[in-house]
Symmetry: D2
Subunit: 196 residues, 4 copies
Amino acid sequence: MKAVLVNCTLKASPEPSNTGALAGVVLDGLRDRGVSVQELRLADLTIDHGVVTQGGEGDEWPRVHDAIVDAEILVVATPTWVGRPSSYAQQMLERLDAMISETRDDGRPLAYGKVAGVVVTGNEDGAHHVISEISGGLVDIGFTIPGQAWTYWNRGPGPGPEFSDTSEGHDWSEDTGRTMAQHLYEVADALRGLRG
Amino acid sequence: MKAVLVNCTLKASPEPSNTGALAGVVLDGLRDRGVSVQELRLADLTIDHGVVTQGGEGDEWPRVHDAIVDAEILVVATPTWVGRPSSYAQQMLERLDAMISETRDDGRPLAYGKVAGVVVTGNEDGAHHVISEISGGLVDIGFTIPGQAWTYWNRGPGPGPEFSDTSEGHDWSEDTGRTMAQHLYEVADALRGLRG
Amino acid sequence: MKAVLVNCTLKASPEPSNTGALAGVVLDGLRDRGVSVQELRLADLTIDHGVVTQGGEGDEWPRVHDAIVDAEILVVATPTWVGRPSSYAQQMLERLDAMISETRDDGRPLAYGKVAGVVVTGNEDGAHHVISEISGGLVDIGFTIPGQAWTYWNRGPGPGPEFSDTSEGHDWSEDTGRTMAQHLYEVADALRGLRG
Amino acid sequence: MKAVLVNCTLKASPEPSNTGALAGVVLDGLRDRGVSVQELRLADLTIDHGVVTQGGEGDEWPRVHDAIVDAEILVVATPTWVGRPSSYAQQMLERLDAMISETRDDGRPLAYGKVAGVVVTGNEDGAHHVISEISGGLVDIGFTIPGQAWTYWNRGPGPGPEFSDTSEGHDWSEDTGRTMAQHLYEVADALRGLRG
């Protein structure tokens, strides 16, 4: 099986991404089960704003689109800004909106039978909301969200350290990330007959 | 397979429920596939506020809990009030919160391998948000949300007719409800090996 | 000026309420400015589900309604359950829905010129979302939300201690609560000409 | 008084913006009260992703920042994509995040005493959620949200016409927009003593 990580951090490489660090635990859990993983960071690409698959000249979304279409498992990783998913995460949903009408020969949406999960970090509060927002959008597009297919880390109340500044709470977030990998894998495997 | 409808309308029987009317299309789609369906309306029961499975004397939540545990498919139907899921829908999530720690012999949450979807009506706007809120809560508890496992009806902008006052838009909502039934059934069937 | 606290904890008196404890800081800040404060806990009252001001026999919402109409400042306090406002908070919004059409002689909604703010506690994550949900609902009904008129406490990631189990983070939450009281008071005072 | 419209449509000029068309009603209502209005469309500017006021070379956010700082009233207009605020709206919140720590001489946030409201269009559903998300973010940054300071247009259920494709529902959305202008103006006027 194949998985793709879409990292929606606002920071371009080589800046370290907290969200990417936690997502790494999930990706390791997938690799341990024989899944090959491709990692994409939207801040490293030129992503047009819009709701079509093909953007303007130089737009690199089609590469992300094709990786998602090619994979059985989508992992979305995003920081929390002002309590909400990052602007790159929303750009991703907007571009994926076009996939609702890209149907298979049997009329099902391209995403049908694929699974997705969400990894969130932040320095304060908001992870469950971010998970609901992104999961809800992905369900609209046709992805299946396995039970407890998410993990997160933050440390409120109020502004505090970032994930990489402390080891507090890492154990819980990483354990939860390993469970996420297991659920993504098992459900993706079970749904193989529903994919095109 | 078994399905249970938890109708979170604020109206007790025999008052007609708009949400229940639209949910009926989904239930018919499940029955057509051989699923037996139990319908529960929270407003007809005594449901304590709280986050435990066993409430006080006279509390009828355990009956709802047992029906959910016994079924493979959960359909939640709710009206939209002030743009959000009904208070009964939130009471349901609060009571289900206890199910996170009710695990199977293999350590998985009781809801693992079960699927859920959401039906929403309202006289204005807010369905996708209500779907995300309830789906997000159910994923926390361990349910899997199949792609596009929802339908809704409303008719904004501003206050307008209720579902049963008009036939406008019913075709789309009912078609979407039939697709919801198909996705719930197919994913529930595919996940049979993941249930306890 | 008068303020009313609507505490939406699921626990009835005399059980201590974490949310009520943090709200106490805000109420003290209001009392220090000469505001008289009435405290109501919905779990201590009989509150019907519904969207009308007058419920059935024994329904005690009218008492809450009248206290809100009589006050210039509304403080809503709620725990976070499954990442969302408590079912009592949603019941409050549903009953307040009727106030949209209870207009003054000049046609303005009864809530116009009144201010509101939100206090949230939880043992994990979700406060900003809860604040947005309740604030958004109150704006629909006609209340004005002053800048930074909220405070919260939680301590993720994952399940952890409750507010009263630890002193971690209390300083920030209490300072933020004192600022909330100041903003509620100043804006309520400035809006006096807009009230009926 | 001064107002600024931040239009978060995904379309660059000269493409017509549905959201901008409905926002025009609000701006007219402000102009009628003597407010001077500046209109900015983020899709026409180069806006870096990030959470600082000063971006990289060529970043035009500082112009938006300065217009917001200079104005008493902020109107945010956004389309609804996948049920959520546009990616430009989230980019705006992310850049405004830096304003939380840009305080006045008296220690208050720069936004304190300023008011804001939200205009939403979409071809289906989601406006109240979009309004809550953006209003919630702006309250965090220090803006005051007057009661009923929003308007919207959409026409569910399911995909349908855009605002400019039909006249259905325009009357309600425009009336609500005129009320929004009145509330923004009156509250901004009442708060004059709270601004720096």
